[in-house]
């Protein structure tokens, strides 16, 4: 018993704020949402038990659910790697040398500061519109553009570009991670005549693995939950032709526009399972590529 306390006390003391928050503020609402997913609940009247009704409807009848999944998976597949690559590339550019770096860092973070505001939505529609900047540039090299953001086949990629453009937060995390890599490792490699590319593969990547892992997991979670940008750019409708019907946009509309909070909760739990599967996969594979300095367990 004494041993038990000795082993656990410190851990639980430090975890107390989180535990209190989790059990008093988070767990209740989470369980309620799970309960609601088995009900019909319009938010005005009391929830009505519906068993697996929501889930059955989702998988058997709901075409838009599948559409939303398709849109979201496409987005995740493109945006996560591209955004991480952009963030890592720029972070490495900014990590060494240059004295004016502080300015660049601030500038590169700007788009993320602007977030997904009405201004960004207006601007994005303009830029990728039929007469937008993008087409003007394309026209200069003789390519006839189209309404990228209004063509259901390409609209999703404008959101991918938006996600890429707002690479500020993973960039900053990468920068913080790069700061932790001892310079002498590079110096040693330099002396060994290791090429830049090999330095990247042999030193940067492995040393940065925990941070890459963090960004990968978090960006994937965030990408699956992407809401504001798609919502604001499509005026909350997922238009054109449901091509911007991101999963959470659909979920939000089901809940707050069509008063189906029960169904929305079921959608949320399905999404949770999907994200959890991906995260678990990431954690499972992390043993093979993420190594922490000096960890014994």
């Amino acid at each position: 018993m004494r041993k038990f306390f000795r082993r656990n006390t410190a851990g639980y003391v430090f975890l107390t704020p989180w535990l209190v928050g989790f059990f008093f503020l988070a767990l209740g609402p989470i369980l309620v949402s799970l309960y609601l997913s088995f009900t019909r609940y319009d938010m005005v009247s009391a929830p009505v038990w519906d068993g697996l009704g929501n889930y059955r409807y989702m998988f058997e009848y709901d075409r838009r659910f599948w559409k939303a999944l398709e849109v979201t998976f496409t987005f995740v597949a493109f945006s996560v790697p591209l955004r991480l690559a952009a963030a890592l590339g720029v972070a490495m550019l900014l990590d060494k040398g240059l004295r004016t770096i502080g300015v660049y860092r601030a500038i590169f973070y700007l788009p993320s500061l602007l977030g997904a505001s009405i201004a960004i939505a207006l601007l994005w529609r303009e830029m990728f519109g039929l007469n937008g900047v993008i087409n003007q540039v394309l026209a200069m090299v003789g390519i006839t553009g189209k309404g990228w953001i209004t063509d259901p086949d390409t609209s999703i990629y404008t959101i991918v570009v938006l996600a890429m453009w707002q690479f500020g937060s993973p960039m900053l995390i990468f920068l913080a991670g790069l700061r932790g890599i001892p310079r002498d490792l590079y110096e040693a490699a330099e002396i060994d005549g290791t090429s830049r590319f090999r330095q990247f593969r042999r030193i940067t990547l492995p040393m940065l693995a925990p941070v890459i892992f963090f960004n990968l997991v978090l960006q994937t979670i965030e990408a699956f939950k992407t809401f504001t940008s798609a919502f604001i750019i499509s005026n909350g409708t997922g238009a054109p032709a449901d091509s911007l019907l991101f999963y959470t946009v659909y979920l939000f509309n089901e809940a707050f526009k069509f008063f189906r909070m029960g169904y929305a909760s079921a959608l949320a739990w399905v999404l949770l399972l999907i994200i959890a599967a991906f995260t678990a996969l990431a954690f499972a594979t992390s043993k093979y590529w993420v190594h922490y300095e000096n960890e014994r367990d």
Partner: protein
């Protein structure tokens, strides 16, 4: 100063047992070296003594007092880590003083001890530097300094020299020995390098797979290894091992003529006979074989001669530097029965009956 008693100590991580029912007495004021191949549990054992690992079973007592439940800081010991573990954000002076401040020791006393340690280790000019501005050897000194300012009853060293280059390692080894001479405090030292073990230890503990293979002075281990493992582990260059079959009091090794065995008190028909490289004689010895020199390693004062025997066995011969053997030369080699170490089929040492030795 402190002596230690380890009784039935066990360590396991889940189903994996790292230390098995280990018993050991460490005398007050001795320099004990734990040695063994990687994964033998030596570091774990040290960390259990330090209080950094929980003890799964059994007891550890320092000065007769069981410390199983005592946190590291209350065990009156210091530890030097393989990676030095200096606090990167503190100057050398702060690194040395940090532990003392935690004891809420008077400032003057802290300053005295820190200065003293700096003087002993000759790191006075480095006191205001940060660890990243130090060379490997300097970091090592600071790490040792941090251990000695505490003036503990017990020093623990976890492979402290393994990150240094060869030259520095030798130098630090000498300094450590000198430090021990000066302090005469109990020291427990973990290494995988048997040279360090031999040169530093008053006693050596050889560990393998979480079990003690042998405890003894360096000389005991060298001259009378308790088993084949210790024989192979202690001694550089490595001991020669030859398989022998026994029948009717006669032992037969490939390439060698059969010879009469002394009474070994075993009935095993398979033995392993070991001979140190320096016990091999060229052109002499009671038991002989023909061989061909494959390679000569010239080390200045000595030469290591690798010899191929007809059956494919290889022997290592430790020659004086002045000998002039060449690769490709055919030689006759041999050794005396008195220089043989016998190990039975369970790899345990077997000794000729006393009468016969005499």
């Amino acid at each position: 100063m402190a002596g230690l008693t380890l009784r039935n100590v066990e360590k396991s991580y889940g189903a994996l047992t790292v230390i098995k029912e280990l018993n050991l007495d460490i005398h007050d004021g001795e320099f004990l070296v734990l040695v063994g191949p990687s994964g033998c549990g030596k570091s774990t054992l040290l960390r259990m003594i330090a209080g950094l690992e929980e003890i799964s079973d059994g007891t550890i007592a320092i000065d007769g007092k069981v410390v199983n439940d005592l946190p590291a800081s209350k065990r009156d010991l210091s530890m030097v880590f393989q990676s030095y573990a200096l606090y990167p954000h503190m100057s050398v002076r702060k690194n040395l003083a940090f532990g003392l401040q935690n004891l809420s020791m008077p400032k003057a006393e802290i300053a005295r001890r820190v200065d003293e340690a700096a003087r002993i280790l000759q790191i006075e000019p480095l006191m205001e530097r940060k660890p990243r501005q130090l060379s490997g050897g300097q970091k090592q000194r600071v790490a040792i300094g941090r251990a000695i300012v505490r003036e503990p009853g017990l020093f623990l060293f976890d492979e402290p020299l393994s990150n240094l280059d060869a030259e520095l390692r030798v130098q630090m080894r000498v300094e450590l020995a000198a430090l021990y001479e000066r302090l005469k405090t109990t020291m427990i030292y973990v290494t995988h390098d048997q040279v360090e073990a031999m040169t530093l230890a008053s006693r050596i503990v050889v560990l393998r797979g979480g079990k003690i293979e042998q405890v003894g002075t360096p000389e005991e281990l060298y001259t009378r290894p308790a088993n084949l493992f210790v024989a192979g582990f202690i001694g550089s260059p490595r001991i020669n091992m030859l398989k022998a079959t026994v029948s009717g009091g006669q032992a037969k090794m490939a390439d060698f003529a059969a010879f009469a065995l002394p009474d070994l008190g075993t009935r095993d028909s398979e033995l392993t006979i070991c001979v140190r490289p320096e016990a091999i004689q060229l052109g002499g010895g009671e038991v002989q074989a023909e061989g061909k020199i494959r390679l000569v390693e010239y080390l200045g004062a000595e030469r290591l001669v690798h010899i191929d025997l007809a059956s494919g066995q290889r022997l290592l011969f430790h020659a004086q530097g002045a000998d002039s053997h060449r690769a490709g030369e055919s030689v006759t080699l041999g050794f005396d029965r008195a220089d043989m170490h016998f190990f039975d089929s369970s790899e345990q040492r077997v000794e000729p009956a006393l009468a016969e030795v005499a």
